[in-house]
Amino acid sequence: MTLSIFIQNVMNALQWGSFYALIALGYSMVYGVLLLINFAHGDIFMVGAYIGFFISTFLLGAYGFQLPWKLSGGLVIFLTFLLTMALTAGVGVAIERVAYRPLRRKGVSRLYLVITALMVGLLLENGNLALLGASRRNFPELIPKVLYSVGGVNFSNTKIIVIIVTLLVFVFLQTVVLKTKWGMAMRAISYDRMAVPLMGVPVDTIIVMTFVLGSSMAAVAGILFAVSYPVLEPYMGALVGWKAFIAAVVGGIGEIRGAIAGGFILGFTEIFVATVFPSTFRDLIAFGVLLLILTLRPNGIFGIARRTKV
């Protein structure tokens, strides 16, 4: 493998790692606060990509009813991101409100919540399929593709954007979780869910906040994914979502750093496995490596073992 191919692969790995990391963030935050494996999250990523598709095509004037004035390219990108994040966050919060909160109020075992989440995911996938049909949709080219070539390494501007956005999101979330009052409340809930409501922390509001953050990050991932690979289909979130979940666990679930690290580890493993072995081995070896990491460090890379006190 020459150096230029190696760097090319590193770029690809960083890009895929970014997608996994952005989705893993949502899993990780919800798990940290609720101890709920939100299996619908991969499909929220899919919903985000679709919402992004409809908003961007609307803004670009692909439908009969249009905006009275023409928007500049930069404004379209900005509005697409903003509106998609808001709407997807709305979907996430609605799911929490309709499906999870009533169950939580009943105080039932967490496993029932997990199975409900699985069902919500299926409903989103197949509802989309039934509603919009099986035809794949082509995402409009929001960001005009520019190819750079530096010393034999070819890469597009979308790759750079994906990686930079992921790092910005990481810094943003890390600040939210570590520096703000909301973040402190989130960490407190995951630390002791009995005492925190007694201290006057509005638990339900914090949970809604978590879903807003997680879902809007999934929306960012959805748009970025659609910009890089502009074909949308209803099952696009399923496999990516399961993988991102495992990545979140490998990094140490409930940790922002962990989700990012796990996502990048998964991205690197997948890309570099595909360069050495036939690409059909990708899933096999990637999951194998993740299992190995989990066996060596059961709490994930950044996870802290919590002892149960009797």
Binding site: P102, S109, I246, F281, P298
Partner: protein, 351 residues
């Protein structure tokens, strides 16, 4: 007379199961049931095995395993490979080792062999999984499900992603010996065996230990339950039975491919467990029957089937969280059944 009646009561469940078995096999043999209905009935059987075996881990033990289809795949491939290798002339494996007629006798043992292989796979998963907290198992089984599927896809001699066939010829070989519905017989025989095994297991000392783990693991350990060992045994039993179901599934269809043992299949098994209610064996059986029939009834809806099914389940979770029979048996819900199908303990207590 009363004494005789009371003594007979303990056999009434076995007797009615036997009557059902004779009825199903007889009607299939006579050709009264169309081959489609026969197929659905056999799938009902396979699903009963899947849901009741998963209930052992997810319901009785209170862990969360979500890769049950992986073990099913291991069992399906192990059993199919052996039957095809032994009883048919195949380009990959060469001529048949044994006369095809021997399949009649050896078939159940080969299915059991598939189950044992799946149980060993379960042991491999269980060793690292039961070291830390509960959700760990969910992740490992999820990953293992993908690994199994992906591994089979990459083994080209057994068909890879194209799938593996030849089991139909094995079944035809059995039909040449005696023209009876072999697969129906074996499916339901193994279903009854599975249900009986799980029923006896959960009411044994071991099973009581497993229920204690669900209620409070630390307390169970203090009371002298070897929790690690008990979890392993339960998990192995569960995955072994899933492997058995897989072997049956493979021979019913005559063709398997790794795609049919994906996460979707595991989800179906999970749904059946939670629909019926955790920790309820009769609930699992009931929900497997209902769920399989529901899927068949909704078949005309095509695309909307998988919209309707999750929707019904979400509503069920919201309004009847514990499932149809959560932690209860059918006899607790309908006490009249208790009078008809009395248990052995009660009969003994009556004297």
């Amino acid at each position: 007379m009363l004494v005789w009646f009371c003594r007979m009561k303990q056999y009434s469940l076995t007797l009615s199961a036997f009557l059902f078995f004779v009825l199903v096999v007889g009607l299939s043999w006579a050709g009264t049931l169309s081959s489609y209905i026969q197929l659905v009935l056999m799938f009902v059987g396979v699903n009963i095995m899947m849901s009741s075996s998963l209930n052992l881990v997810n319901g009785y033990m209170g862990e969360f395993s979500c890769g049950h289809a992986g073990f099913m795949a291991v069992g399906a491939y192990a059993a199919s490979l052996v039957t095809v290798w032994c009883f048919t002339a195949e380009s990959v494996f060469g001529p048949n080792l044994l006369p095809p007629a021997w399949a009649v006798v050896l078939f159940p043992f080969i299915l059991l062999f598939g189950g044992v292989i799946a149980a060993l796979a379960g042991l491999l998963v269980a060793i690292p999984s039961f070291r830390t907290r509960g959700d760990y198992l969910a992740i490992i089984t999820l990953a293992v499900n993908y690994i199994v599927k992906s591994a089979i896809e990459n083994i080209q001699p057994i068909g890879g992603a194209r799938g593996f066939m030849g089991m139909a010829r094995v079944v035809n070989g059995m039909k040449e010996v005696a023209d009876i519905p072999w697969m129906m017989i074996w499916t339901w025989a193994f279903v009854f065996l599975t249900v009986l095994l799980i029923k006896r297991f959960v009411s044994s000392t071991y099973g009581k230990g497993i229920i204690a783990i669900r209620e409070d693991e630390i307390a169970a350990e203090i009371m002298g339950v070897n929790t690690r060992r008990a979890k392993m045994v339960a998990f192995m039993l569960s995955s072994g039975l899933a492997g058995l179901a897989g072997g049956l599934f493979a021979h019913i269809l005559g063709y398997i491919n790794p795609g049919s043992f994906g996460i979707m299949k595991s989800t179906e098994a999970l749904v059946m467990v939670y629909l019926g209610g955790m920790g309820s064996l009769s609930g699992s059986v009931l929900s497997a029957v209902l769920f399989t029939l529901l899927l068949e009834i909704l078949r005309p809806l095509q695309l909307y089937k998988w919209v309707v099914v999750p929707f019904i389940l979400i509503l069920l979770m919201l309004f009847r969280t514990e499932g149809l029979l959560g932690h209860r048996e059918l006899t607790d819900v309908f006490p009249i059944l208790k009078r008809i199908f009395g248990s052995r303990e009660e009969v003994h207590a009556a004297f």
